[in-house]
Amino acid sequence: MSEIATSPQIDRVFGLVRKDHIQRYSTLVVLALMVLGFSLFVGRFLTSQNVMNIAQQISMLTIVGAGLTFGFAAREMDLSVGFTVGLAGVLVPLLLVGGTPLPLALLAGLGAGLLVGLCNAFFVTVIGIPSLIATLAAGSILFGINFLMTGGRAIYGGLPDSYLWLGQGRLLGIPVLAWFMLGAVAVAWFVMERTIFGRYIYAVGGNQKAAELSGVQVRRYRAASLVVCSLFAVVAGMLLAARLGSGQPNAGERYLLDGLATVFIGMTMLRPGTATVLGTFFGALFIGIINNGLNLMGMDTYIQSIVKGAIILVAVAVVSRSTKLNLL
């Protein structure tokens, strides 16, 4: 039936390829240009020391973003993610200071994430509360819990070196944090792009009715996407506390908006309009490189903030002109 439509005339194919590439890679091109610009004009930008810094600085954000990507792919938004980061970032140091052995404390952190994820999933898929509201409420509850756990104070000192090594040490010359980030991205990418689980998450987000009619257990995958979100968030939280050498009940809060930003920027590339793990990773890289580069240039904080906003607008403008992006 489609002979006419698909008859591949050469010029059309080239036209198609070009247009597709503009859509899929324009944000990445801006990223590359930015890296080039910083390399040329900012002295220490391309030193190995600085590259490691960037990797460390974006690792927690990337991990949170990777988790949020699962949620977005399934069309569930987790607004409690910042407080879940905070939860792990307080609970694990608290346990460690109290003498719990490291593996147990980390397990407890993961367990807490699982619990949060399951609660969110329960309210969203069983009770039917839209994830935006359910996780907003969950965030309020977690906020209270995080502060109650420590009576509001931050935890400083008394953390074992093995734990601090996770956040500050190196392995084979590369920061342990970077390994975690790469591992998380690799796992998330593989799961989303190469497994049935990931495919169903995308299907549920793409058209819930269609997924249901195909026999996909929609609830299960919506629930799973929220659980994965929380699990990635607690991993980020545990690493954050190790990096800071301190458990701070409100340290996670900025991860909500920043995490969303990485996902949104990621949604402008590769498969425009869809949240992808690699897109999110590049989104985090994008933000991390702007922050780092402008810092190295010695730009004032407030001006940095303005420049950052402007760069994002420019970077996204190209793809926006050529594609219709629907993020909501």
């Binding site: 995308y202 195909s214 026999g215 869809t274």
Partner: protein, 502 residues
């Protein structure tokens, strides 16, 4: 094996969609389901397909009552459902959609991508040997007809016992329609029973072994198809004698009115129309195969932002191609196809949907709306169009397919007065029952009589035959030689569409 629905009652707020219906579906026959718009057909098959849980009544499979619970539950009992509104994941490719939920796996968790592509292609070839679809593209980029085919292949892939096809041919062009007919006929022999809903009575008659008629949520009869004539079916559905009124043809208009639309050198996308003229009072039919460009041309007359023209005149005034708002101001209206996507808002009330184009009719001036005025005008249009709903405050999404279509047309009658000189209808009776079809045709004729020039683009050739004064066949993005009313016949239409004009 039999699947029996017994005493099904489905109560929606304000509507009893099914009122004690009992039917048996078998895996060795095609079971036609007919009834006017809102009779409860979709509701019945939604119960069968697990999407709806009935208020009371049972689904009995192989003698035992079962609780389907969800489409997934129904699927495990061998019931597959191709619903009236399309349901594919538009971000996934055709192949991925066909095998969604049944992917070839590696170690239980990984997708074997290459095997998936191959299996999907095999399935497509098995069921639609003469259709070629690029299964590697996201289905969002495919035309509706191809999407429908993919949906049907997906439903058939697991060799279900029963497959439900809810108006599968409403949006299919002729060639795909024929192939689908062959497949439907062959399914019972392969042990797959079919529940077929269609408003094309000839189609139902030709394909079904058994026919069930529903009316106002009640079971009217279930009979062997051979024992029912088309006239009898109409009578059972509508409770009135079928015949003459339904077959009425538009009479050739005597006096040709003034020219209301004139185009010279019209280019839009790949479509090129050197010369086109439409007069007041006439109804021009556009026909063509998939991709022939007739739909695109029809749409471009109302949404012509991307069009170029040497000259365009509406009602004698030269204008430049423009966006819908400008074209409407010039006097051009469009009733698009795919109503839920392009015309209506499901979460809105009927009143709000009707007032979408001309809200100022319900206004007391200065852009301020008066609910009472809106109510009055909406009521007028709903009576004119004979819409079946409990009030103008009902939500649109609760209406049956055909009644939604009436609202989609009614939008252009709400507060319109004599404003539109050109009205374009694309697939105006998609999913509309035979009674309502005649009402819509009558409305089109009435509009023509008031001096509107009408363009109708449709893949229903019978419709074109009964409503148009002349027909312009499209092939390869170009209009072919015009066919005058006295030469109308299905054979001539088909020949003209495939470019082998007689």
């Amino acid at each position: 094996m039999d699947i029996r629905l017994t005493d099904i009652v489905m109560q929606f707020p304000g509507t009893r969609a099914l009122d004690g219906v009992s039917v048996t579906f078998r895996d060795d026959e095609v079971h036609g389901l007919i009834g006017e718009n809102g009779a409860g057909k979709s509701t019945l098959v939604n119960v069968l397909g697990g999407s709806l849980t009935p208020t009371t009544g049972q689904v009995v499979i192989g003698g035992r009552p079962v609780r389907l619970g969800s489409p997934h539950g129904a699927l495990t009992h061998g019931i597959a459902h191709v619903s009236q509104e399309g349901n594919l994941v538009s971000g996934l490719t055709g192949a991925e959609n066909i095998l969604l939920g049944h992917e070839p796996r590696l170690g239980g968790a990984l997708i074997r991508t290459r095997a998936l592509r191959r299996q999907a292609a095999d399935l497509l070839r098995e069921w639609f040997p003469r259709v070629s679809i690029d299964l590697s593209r996201p289905v969002g980029d495919l035309p509706m007809a191809e999407r429908k085919v993919i949906e049907i292949v997906r439903a058939l892939r697991g060799n279900p016992k029963i497959v439900i096809l809810d108006e599968p041919t409403a949006t299919l062009p002729a060639r795909e329609k024929e192939q689908l007919w062959q497949i439907i006929r062959s399914l019972p022999k392969r042990g797959v029973g079919v529940v077929l809903i269609s408003h094309f009575l000839s189609e139902i008659k030709a394909l079904s072994d058994t026919i069930t008629v529903l009316r106002d949520g009640r079971h009217i009869c279930t009979e062997p198809a051979a024992s029912l004539s088309e006239e009898k079916l109409v009578e059972l559905m509508l409770r009135r004698t079928g015949g003459a009124a339904l077959k009425a043809k538009t009479t050739a208009s005597e006096a040709q009115g003034p020219v209301v639309l004139m185009l010279r050198g019209w280019h839009v996308g790949a479509v090129e129309v050197p010369d086109f003229t439409l007069r007041a009072g006439e109804i021009v039919g556009l026909i063509g195969l998939t991709g022939a460009g007739h739909f695109g041309f029809a749409r471009s007359l109302h949404n012509s932002a991307g069009a170029r023209a040497a000259r365009m005149e509406v009602a004698g005034k030269a204008i430049a191609p423009g966006r819908p708002a400008q074209m409407q101001a010039a006097g051009v209206a469009l009733v698009p196809d795919h109503r839920m996507e392009y015309a209506l808002i499901g979460e809105w009330t009927l009143r709000e949907n009707l007032a979408m184009v001309h809200p100022e009719q319900g206004s007391i001036g200065a852009g301020i709306l008066s609910p009472r005025r809106e109510e009055a005008e909406a009521g007028r249009v709903m009576r004119l169009m004979n819409v079946k709903a409990h009030s103008s405050g009902q939500l649109l999404k609760e209406l049956s397919g055909g009644n939604k279509q009436k609202i989609s047309i009614g939008k252009w009658l709400y507060g319109a007065g004599e404003r539109y000189r050109v009205m374009i209808f694309i697939e105006p009776t998609e999913g509309v029952d035979i009674g309502a079809k005649t009402e819509i045709y009558a409305e089109m004729r009435r509009l023509a009589a008031t001096g509107v020039g009408i363009i109708i683009a449709s893949s229903d050739l019978l419709e074109i035959e009964s409503v148009a004064h002349r027909v312009i066949p499209f092939a390869n993005q170009r209009p072919g030689p015009e066919i005058p009313q006295e030469r109308f016949s299905e054979a001539i239409f088909i020949a003209a569409m495939s470019g082998t004009a007689a």
